[in-house]
Amino acid sequence: MSALRLISNRTSQQALSNSDYTWDYEYYEYGPVSFEGLKAHKYSIVIGFWVGLAVFVIFMFFVLTLLTKTGAPHQDNAELSEKKFRMNSFVADFGRPLESERVFSHQMAEESQSLFHFCINEVDHMNKEKETQKGPSLESNTHFQDVAKSSGMFEEDIHCLTKFNIPNFVNTEQNSSLGEDDLLISEPPIILENKLVMQSSHRILD
């Protein structure tokens, strides 16, 4: 690349190498570079650089993996119906359809472009399918739809999300005591905010 002339000395008019890529000013004013008396291998910088880069990337990977150690895992698989039952109880409590109930189903995987829009659509589908009478949709739903339409979330396989989408509605009142509260914006409705943030964060990183 000829931008190298910005660094190299342009006085020499001789092309020293038989490179095809000599542009109007010579690329590499290597000049008289003597290769005698080299202590280390001549490509040592190249090798050292690439090894260092690889080590750094692997190190970064291990650091990130270590960050993922989440403590004592519960290995037993929860029953889907059990989850649904719990969620139905939440529905009764909050009078609003739960978006997360549908994420456990895989058929919505090819829905629209955003996570929130996705969730809202799932809710709509669920409503149409089940034809159950839901509670009055709160205005927060439409707000979520607006957020959904414009936020453009990162779509991934939904079944990855199912691992995380157990709603922590039970912990609603305890959220303020949790450590990551400072990361979240306390805005109404606080109940779903953590869930949205959680979904979106897992969306992005899965």
Binding site: S2, A3, L4, I7, S8, N9, T11, S12, S17, D20, Y21, D24, Y25, Y27, Y28, E29, Y30, P32, V33, F35, L38, S44, V46, L53, V57, M60, F61, L64, T65, L67, T68, T70, A72, P73, H74, Q75, A109, E110, S112, V147, S150, S151, G152, F154, E155, C160, K163, F164, L178, L183, L184, E187, E193, L196, V197, M198, S201, H202, I204, L205
Partner: protein, 293 residues
């Protein structure tokens, strides 16, 4: 320069030349892929979102980089065939213009990645106000500012390239941006992990380390690809500035064309890790291809 004492040792580090076919193939693939993304985003109204505009900006800068390489190759071929002289004034101006295109592409790439990371960050941490914070108009304004800054800087760097001072901010910018992007993503990652922890503490919940691992892999891929594709070139610039006559540095600089090819490979890989992860974009592609049959 006194060339009489120059000794061409057999152990010299000769330029490692990448075959032109490889060059052109990689460049063409990069241009086509990014062009497809631009067309898809323009055609599909659902994709008129800030996030996709930032991805488009990345696609444009990747395209510029590959375009630069292609044009350079063409001009060198023309030079070798004798249609262009090597020392003419017109060629010099052309050379300047192409240098500024390359620097524009590099800066545009960095800032687009930063914009994508910032957009995702706002999506996570300001989820409910995202719609108000990142309106379409603001995204376009941000992109306009970014590209104006990059264009100005690239012209300035190309014009004042003979000053030593231009190299240093250029090479400082690169690790600084990378570090900042890394911080943004790690913060998001920590939030995801803390949520996973919360879920793990619920009774009878399933914890899947596999998905946590996937997050770590995703992050590593994001940043590893950027680093591996751009760092060799940045190191080249540094070495060419500070130790052009050192034999070790000279040997590193002999693999310059491989570094250039890596940058073009970045143009091919970037769409895969940013754009093609979106199902909406993928379905738009499918529609485009099936309709064209």
């Amino acid at each position: 320069k006194n060339i009489s004492d120059f000794s061409l040792n057999i152990t010299d580090c000769t330029q490692i030349v990448v075959p032109e076919e490889v060059f052109f193939t990689v460049a063409a693939a990069g241009i086509l892929e990014n062009l497809l993304i631009l067309i898809a985003v323009v055609k599909n109204k659902n994709l008129h979102l800030p996030m996709y505009f930032f991805i488009c900006s990345l696609a444009i800068s990747d395209m510029l980089g590959s375009l630069y390489k292609t044009l350079e190759n063409i001009f060198i071929i023309l030079c070798n065939m004798g249609y262009l002289t090597r020392h003419g004034d017109f060629e010099k101006k052309l050379d300047d213009a192409m240098d500024s295109i390359f620097i524009l592409s590099l800066l545009g790439s960095i800032f687009s990645l930063l914009a994508i990371a910032a957009d995702r960050y706002i999506t996570i941490f300001y989820a409910l106000r995202y719609h108000n914070i990142m309106t379409l108009r603001r995204a376009l304004v941000i992109l306009a500012i970014i590209w104006a800054f990059c264009a100005g800087s690239s012209i300035a760097i190309a014009l004042f390239s003979y000053e030593a001072a231009t190299v240093i901010p250029f090479t400082i910018l690169f690790p600084l941006m990378m570090f900042f992007i890394l911080c943004l993503y790690v913060h998001m990652f920590l939030l995801a992990r803390s949520h996973a922890k919360k879920i793990a503490s619920l009774p009878s919940s399933t914890v899947h380390h596999r998905t946590n691992m996937k997050g770590a892999i995703t992050l590593t891929i994001f940043l590893g690809v950027f680093l591996c594709c751009w760092a060799p070139f940045v190191l080249h610039i540094l070495l060419a500035r500070f130790c052009p006559h050192n034999p070790y540095c000279a040997c590193y600089m002999s693999i310059f064309h491989v570094n250039g090819t890596l940058i073009m490979c970045n143009a091919i890989i970037n769409p895969m890790i940013f754009a093609f992860r979106s199902p909406e974009l993928r379905s738009t592609f499918k529609k485009m291809f099936y309709c064209s049959r």
